[in-house]
């Protein structure tokens, strides 16, 4: 094992710490809009995307990274990611959400991860592989079509990403100035800086900036290890699952993305222990079944779509990949459908 591979562990520790402190979860981000009209985590996600987009653009311009946008896989991106979106509402967390909550001691997240691993293995290399292959068979335009918003317009990626990040950021800032107020609930305004970092949850601005920066740092380090892509969750869990399979050589699992997962779980556990938020939390048995099924849908969907919410949304959208934009949209729509059926409709009936 080499040092570049182990940087995955370091990035994971920082990522896990930030995820736990910021309670960063795309499931909550997308679902809370329809279930409780809460936009806090959505703003966090949007900010992280803009920070990463700006960073990727600058790094591409200075040749620190070579962008590697995912290709369009219509069947996988639309159907796979839609199922992923439904799955994460059942699982009670997105791929990064359930991963950091394993470190917090949430048993429901552990069963979700178990479902994700088993389904990912089944879909990547076992009895569900034909389904994945069928979903990925539609390739229009042909072969390796890693088209991006920039390539469609005939523009340079780096400049497009930088300009887009700045313009979108300014538009957002402009509207935020117009609609000030309403978002000032801060129970720990007068706390010391140490307490604000280690004891209380981070507010959305520091969370979004730090997660975006972790994504920026992740890209060149992961590429250094031979894996030219920023953050991703599912492939790392898949490799952890493969450690227990005699048919797969153990060294195959010792990769950057596997160490990233180890880092996230440990980093989140450290953050939770310092904040005294670590606790083994056991929901009812039927909830464990629900999160397992949700995790399995996520594992299947992510492998078919070649990415979870982190691979496609946090890492793929800033690379302006059209495939990732399609997958991201499908994840959101799947989450909304599940949230409507599970929460909005039952609550309206009461």
């Amino acid at each position: 094992m080499t040092f570049p591979i182990l940087t995955g562990l370091l990035v994971g520790l920082a990522f896990g710490f930030a995820l736990q402190r910021g309670r960063f979860c795309m499931n909550s981000a997308f679902r809370d809009i329809v279930t409780m009209k809460d936009y806090t985590l959505l703003k966090t996600v949007a900010l992280a995307l803009l920070v990463s987009m700006l960073g990727f653009g600058i790094m591409a311009m200075t040749n620190i990274i070579t962008p590697n946008p995912k290709p369009i896989l219509w069947g996988g991106n639309i159907i796979g990611s839609f199922l992923f979106g439904i799955g994460m509402v059942l699982a009670g967390g997105c791929a990064s959400g359930i991963t950091y909550r394993v470190g917090e001691g949430m048993v429901g997240a552990m069963t979700a991860v178990l479902g994700l691993i088993l389904a990912a293995i089944a879909t990547a290399m076992s009895f569900l592989k034909p389904v994945r292959d069928a979903l990925q068979a539609i390739k229009v335009p042909a072969e390796g079509s890693s088209i991006t918003v920039a390539s469609i317009l005939g523009l340079d990626y780096a400049i497009t990403a930088i300009v887009l990040a700045i313009v979108l950021g300014l538009i957002w800032w402009f509207f935020a100035q117009k609609n000030k107020g309403g978002d000032v609930f801060d129970a720990h305004k007068d706390a010391s800086l140490t307490d604000k970092i280690f004891k209380y949850g981070w507010s959305w601005i520091p969370t979004g900036v730090v997660i975006g920066l972790v994504g920026i740092v992740a890209f060149p380090l992961s590429a250094w290890s031979g894996r030219n892509y920023p953050l991703g969750i599912t492939s790392g869990w898949l490799k952890i699952g493969q450690m227990f399979m005699p048919s797969v050589p153990f060294e195959n699992s010792l990769k950057w993305d596997m160490w990233l997962i180890v880092g996230i779980v440990v980093g989140a556990a450290v953050a939770a222990l310092i904040a005294k938020e670590f606790k083994l939390r056991m929901p009812a048995g039927r909830v464990l079944v629900q999160t397992f099924i949700g995790g399995a849908l996520m594992g299947f969907g992510a492998v078919c779509s070649t990415g979870c919410n982190i691979g496609h949304i946090l890492s793929g959208v800033p690379q302006l990949s059209i495939g990732s934009l399609i997958a991201g949209t499908s994840i959101v729509l799947g989450a909304w459908l599940a949230a409507y059926l599970m929460f909005v409709r039952p609550m309206a009936k009461e």
Partner: protein, 83 residues
């Protein structure tokens, strides 16, 4: 500090996964009369921050958010009377 506040009803959502602590609390508050106080016991960090924020948005009055032990919290909310 929350001892002096008298709860009309207690809801224990410890161990619940996202977003059940919020959903169950909001559904209970919706059915309560104006001025009645709901005591919520929960241990999910995200909800400890999100629930007071959203309860206030619906007009309920957040009386106290108290940390008990570790992630365990007690939140006292006075219902707005949405019934």
């Amino acid at each position: 500090m929350t001892e002096e506040i008298k709860a009309t009803k207690t809801l224990d959502v410890c161990g619940e996964i996202c977003p059940y602590p919020d959903v169950k609390s909001m559904a209970t508050l919706k059915k309560m009369e104006k001025g009645e106080v709901l005591e919520i016991l929960l241990d999910y960090p995200l909800s400890v921050e999100r629930l007071p924020r959203n309860a206030a948005k619906w007009g309920h009055k957040v009386l106290a958010v108290e940390q008990l032990e570790g992630p365990n919290h007690r939140i006292m909310i006075e219902a707005f009377g949405l019934k």
